[in-house]
Each structure stands twice: as structure tokens, then as C-alpha cells.
Symmetry: C2
Subunit: 194 residues, 2 copies
């Protein structure tokens, strides 16, 4: 297989027990945490991107159908102006528009790879637990910023799913951000195909 011509980044927040959302998709535990003035204050950045810096580094994003359904249900699409691919076996491939938001539907990772390479997209933001896991299984995750919120939810939608082999990372940055959240920046040691 020819080497991948694109690079990928994961930028995701999780509870301390590894959930990206409650089972009902609620993320208010992340977006509106209880006020707590006792948290360690934010540190000066140590090479961890903010969401704005992260978005400026990527050429497009890819998400699963569930993440798409959640994002389109919000009052405002959270990723303005960034070209978006939705990985879905049930939606028809090609352009898809809802609420003035246009996305491109791809049916498989191989199809996504073809599009990224044909369109010379250099850096892809991979979002959502299932899609992140599919990319990890292929060794297609190059960088990852994981932000952990200081709460155990007990149940919910998991960030990481089953893998057939270990995925090892190099720690490249750690940052304390607001509300007791810790952001950690990793690069993959055993990313493949590039």
C-alpha cells in the first residue's frame, strides 16, 4: 500500500473514566462543570494546542454519524467553515446538506483516504469515539490531544474501543487548563503507512 499522504490529529475531551458523553449524549458535565475555585490554576502552556490552534492546523475533519447527528442538533454548528467528512454506511455518499451545513459523506476509511489524498488534504482532524477507534486500529492516528475533566461519570459513550494491538505514544506536552482539566499531547510511536 502506498504511504498515507495525510496526517491525522485527535483533539478530544473525556471524563476521568474515559467517557466522551453520557449515554444520552449529554456533555454539560464538560461544558458547564460545577464551579470549583479550589482547582490548581491553569499553567503556562507547555506545547499543548488550544482548540483554536488545533483547528488552524487541520485542513478538514472527519466524524462518525453519531457525532454528526449530535453536532447538527446543537443551536450552532461547532466547527464553522471547516470542511467536514461524515463516515457513514447508512447516509448516501457525496454532498449532504442540513440546516445550511454542508458535509461530505464517505462510506469507508478507504474511501476517506482516497478523498484526502486526491484533494491533497494534509492534516485531518478525527473526531468521535468510534471513528477515532477505527483510525487507531489502522495505525492512522499521528497526534492526539486528550483533555481529561475531573469527574467520574460511571457510564456513557466510551472514547476508546477495543484494539487488536497496543498503540504506543510519546508524551510531548501537558497543560492544566480551566476548571481542573488536564490536557495531554501525544504523538503516536507506531503510526502506520506514512
Amino acid at each position: 500500500m502506498p504511504p498515507r499522504t495525510f496526517k491525522t490529529r485527535v483533539f478530544i475531551a473525556t471524563s476521568l473514566d474515559g467517557y466522551i458523553a453520557r449515554e444520552n449524549h449529554d456533555i454539560t458535565w464538560l461544558t458547564s462543570p460545577p464551579k470549583n475555585t479550589h482547582h490548581l490554576p491553569p499553567t503556562s502552556p507547555r506545547r499543548v494546542d488550544t482548540i483554536e490552534q488545533h483547528m488552524s492546523r487541520v485542513d478538514c475533519m472527519i466524524m462518525g454519524r453519531r457525532t454528526y447527528d449530535f453536532c447538527i442538533s446543537l443551536p450552532e454548528w461547532p466547527y464553522a467553515k471547516k470542511r467536514t467528512f461524515v463516515l457513514s454506511r447508512s447516509m448516501a455518499p457525496g454532498a449532504y446538506k442540513a440546516k445550511d451545513i454542508e458535509v461530505e459523506v464517505v462510506g469507508s476509511l478507504d474511501e476517506a483516504k482516497d478523498v484526502f489524498e486526491r484533494e491533497r488534504l494534509g492534516c485531518v482532524y478525527v473526531d468521535g469515539g468510534e471513528v477515532v477507534t477505527e483510525f487507531l486500529r489502522r495505525g492512522w492516528v499521528d497526534e492526539m490531544v486528550v483533555t481529561t475533566a475531573p469527574v467520574l461519570l460511571g457510564n456513557g459513550i466510551r472514547l476508546f474501543g477495543g484494539l487488536e494491538e497496543d498503540v504506543r505514544f510519546t508524551l510531548v506536552g501537558v497543560d492544566v487548563i480551566e476548571e481542573g482539566m488536564v490536557s495531554v499531547h501525544y504523538t503516536a510511536v507506531n503510526a502506520k503507512d506514512r
Copy 2:
């Protein structure tokens, strides 16, 4: 119920996807990680205990039967000289000795609480995924140091189990230790009964 007279600390290491061991109990991914000279170097400590400092702060420890079976299978008992309780419904209650290691078996958390209070044990180290979860369910975890290794295992024995309600923490310290591991120190916001 009268307030708890003891305090608890969890001091545990986990993979990035929340496993404390592989399904076969292997922890070499933690104890013998592949050499990687690119990790962010250790930071000066920011209020996160080392294992030695942690052990000096606790009066005893409590672990589940599976953690006990694992520890007793090691060439050397890893917690020398620290009074140890094993929470087990299948072992006979009371003193239990194997390989010159004496532990005290308790059949329930209520029984453990009675012993801790009767014996005026001020600070208890709670170890092992299932026992930590039982303490969390009761709101009986006061402090937690979680060290995350830079690897996804995909499967294994999980650190945190299901909970009926959120457990919220205050972030009090973050430290980068050796081999790309990040240690985070939390105190529980909604610990109960004390």
C-alpha cells in the same frame, strides 16, 4: 450513620484507555515500557506524591482478592511492612498467612469500616479496580493519584466501574514522571460520611 473517622487514598496507574492490567493480569506495559527517549522529561514535582511519600502517609491498605492473588504471586510482596486488609467474600475472615505475608481478611466494606475505626487507622490506601469502585460508590474516596501510561491496550481489567452518580474531584497537582507517564492528584469534592 456516624462520620467516617478514617481518610482514604487511591494511588494507581492506568493505561490511556483506563486499564490497570491486561486480561491475563500482565502489567509489563507499565513496569517495562519500551525505551523512548522522546518523551517530555520529568517536571519538577507539583504536589504529586511519589509511591514512597504515598506509602508513608497511609496507615494500612485494603485490596480485593484478585489484587491480593496477583501481589502474592510476585517474587516479592510489593508493600513491605504495611498492614494489609483483603476484602473477600470467599476467604475466611481474620488473619491469613501465605508466603510469610500476613493479611487480614474482611468480608464487607462495613466490616472494614468497623476495623479501621476500632483500630484508629487514620488513612487507608485503597487498591485495585473493583475495591476502588466499591469505595467510590459509597463516596468513601477522599484523595486519588492517577498515573497514566502513554499506551492504549485495547482490552484488560478496567480501573473504574459503573457508578450511580457522578464523583467530582478537585485537581490539586499534576506531574510528569518517567517514561512519559503523567501523574494527576485529585481530592474528591463529594466524599461522604466524614
